[in-house]
């Protein structure tokens, strides 16, 4: 089976300024792939090229076996896109919005089943204007999956959610992924990528810095762990490659519970920030400021 997304040496320049400069990417069938990267890194441009909204200047791009630049409506039958903006449709009811979207697909899912699935069954006759941010986003996902897409793009799906809504949303996406839909997720939330993604790609400076599983990104699994506890009225911390042995030693010394014991690995966020740090400086900070330091 060929990969649903295949990108080689993608280039895109805006009035002389390169936004994407030689980006490679391969997304496997059935996986959830998270694209991370700071603002201005080329993330949005890349996704919009994949979605067929933007023309590229160079490189090879294949999405579901076709070039998005020349692919037609048959190609869009197999695609689901949940855009970043979540406005419009105010005057329609939830069911009307979903049903009208279903009509343009050849083999849509059942509208009422999807409504139940995204948790909007009770809101079916409510105007979309009356939905909360989280509910509105679930409607967007409903519209994105109503056509049984093989590949689903989710662009910053949980921005502005409260923690509860975000957990519910994650469960919804995990369910979709379990059905074999390939999902491309862009997000600024590292915990979201860690929760949902099989693999994570970090984009900075218009290139793919690294691609790995969330647990192994940037050698995260091999890095030293931090062990901390309370002793003599202060918090003591040490880094170690053998946290289990260290905890055993502490337990023996305290003769039981170690007060406020914490064992931590570098979070995905720590690793991510370390990865993009050099690029953030070279790409975004003006030269003058560097000289002034």
């Amino acid at each position: 089976m060929t990969s649903p997304v295949l990108v080689e040496g993608l280039h895109k320049t805006y009035s002389g300024v390169p936004a994407v400069a030689g980006l490679d990417l391969e997304i496997h069938a059935g996986e959830v792939f998270a694209l991370l990267g700071p603002n201005g890194a080329g993330k949005t441009t890349t996704v919009e090229v994949l979605e067929g909204f933007r023309r590229r200047d160079g490189g090879r791009v294949e999405v579901l076996g076709e070039d998005p630049q020349s692919a037609g409506l048959d190609w869009r039958q197999r695609l689901g896109i949940v855009l970043q903006s979540s406005r419009g449709l105010d005057l329609l009811t939830v069911r009307e919005a979903l049903a009208s979207t279903a009509k343009v697909y050849r083999q849509p899912r059942d509208v009422d089943e999807v409504l139940e699935w995204v948790g909007l069954g009770e809101k079916r006759d409510a105007r979309t204007a009356s939905l909360s941010g989280g509910q509105r986003r679930r409607l967007d996902v409903g519209m994105g999956i109503i056509g049984r897409p093989e590949l689903l793009f989710l662009d910053e799906p949980t921005t502005g959610f409260d923690p509860r809504a975000r957990r519910d949303f994650w469960a919804l996406i995990a369910g979709l992924a379990g059905d074999g839909t390939t999902i491309v997720l862009t997000t600024h939330y590292l915990d979201e990528a860690e929760q949902l993604a099989d693999r994570v790609g970090v984009i900075a400076g218009g290139r793919m810095l690294t691609v790995d599983t969330p647990a192994q990104l940037g050698g995260r699994h091999a890095q030293e762990a931090t062990v901390s506890w309370r002793e003599d009225g202060g918090v003591r911390t040490l880094s170690t490659a053998e946290p289990t042995a260290e905890v055993a030693r502490l337990a023996a010394r305290f003769g039981g519970e170690v007060p406020e014991l914490v064992v931590a690995r570098p979070t995905l966020e720590d690793t991510y920030l370390r990865l993009i740090e050099p690029h953030a400086v070279s790409v975004e900070r003006p030269v003058v400021e560097e000289v002034a330091r």
């Binding site: 869009r76 855009l83 449709l89 009307e96 009208s100 343009v104």
Partner: protein
């Protein structure tokens, strides 16, 4: 689903949205009949007592039909398309396998349904409430047909083209409603065209509304009244020419400028 079925679905959706929005119902659908009723109530028979052949309702009917044509076509589309571009609706539609032409057919269906319903309402109210007799000769209704079709068609494509000028939804209201209101005042919708200063008449003559209004007067006024027109006649050939030119210009402009994406976003 076939294109036709999708287009019908889009039309139904457009009509639902149109009639659920109080502003559009009031300011584009009901406005002409409300204004006509208001003028007829205020002026009553005073026009006749002043020596006119026409009652106030009869006098204002052609102008209100012409104004209504521009409201339901041009104003409705310029506002709705610019808003849908601004709030991302157009981009979302473009991301689905909906044939793009279905969107435009839905808009055409909306304009056709609302302008016909508005016309019917205007005619029924003038006939039944204000006791104005309507023309019976087929030739008058034939004239009506082509003026109405050219007016609505031109307003539709020009509204879609103008949506690009209107820009963001926040500014669209002022940019669309303002100029159209001025145009209504100088094109013989609210005042007799002959009472307007010559230079304003010439400005108005550049735009389609003046010609739709004049064409409608030729349908609903006694034919003897054409001597009171500025040109001394109904100018049917020139009317057809100007309206056709605007229709073609609107088609070309809307085809060349239409975008599914907000400016600067893609």
């Amino acid at each position: 689903m076939s294109l036709a079925a999708i287009a019908v679905d889009r039309t139904v959706l457009e009509l639902k949205m149109y009639f659920r929005e109080r502003e559009s119902v009031f300011f584009s659908f009901l406005f002409p009949v409300l204004m006509l009723s208001l003028f007829a109530a205020v002026f009553g028979d005073s026009f006749r007592q002043g020596g006119s052949e026409l009652s106030a309702a009869q006098f204002f009917l052609p102008g209100m039909i012409a104004g209504g044509v521009m409201l339901t076509s041009f104003q409705t589309l310029a506002l709705s398309v610019s808003m849908e571009r601004d709030d991302g609706t157009l981009k979302r539609l473009r991301s689905t396998p909906m044939p793009p032409v279905a969107y435009f057919l839905g808009k055409v269906g909306l304009v056709a349904a609302t302008s016909l319903a508005q016309l019917a309402l205007l005619l029924v109210v003038t006939r039944l409430v204000f006791d104005v007799s309507l023309p019976t000769e087929p030739s008058a209704w034939l004239t009506f047909l082509w003026v109405f079709l050219l007016g609505v068609g031109g307003g539709t494509v020009l509204g879609i083209a103008y949506s690009t000028v209107a820009g963001s939804a926040r500014s669209a209201g002022a940019v669309v409603i303002g100029p159209l209101l001025v145009l209504q005042f100088i094109s013989g919708v609210y005042f007799a065209y002959g009472d307007i200063p010559a230079w304003l008449q010439q400005v108005a003559a550049l735009f389609p509304l003046k010609w739709v209004a004049q064409g409608m007067r030729s349908v609903f006024y006694p034919s003897a009244m054409q001597t009171q027109e500025v040109a001394g006649s109904w100018e049917h050939p020139l009317t057809a020419l100007v309206l056709t030119l605007w229709l073609v210009a609107g088609l070309v402009l809307s085809a060349r400028t239409f975008s599914w994406f907000k400016r600067g976003s893609v």
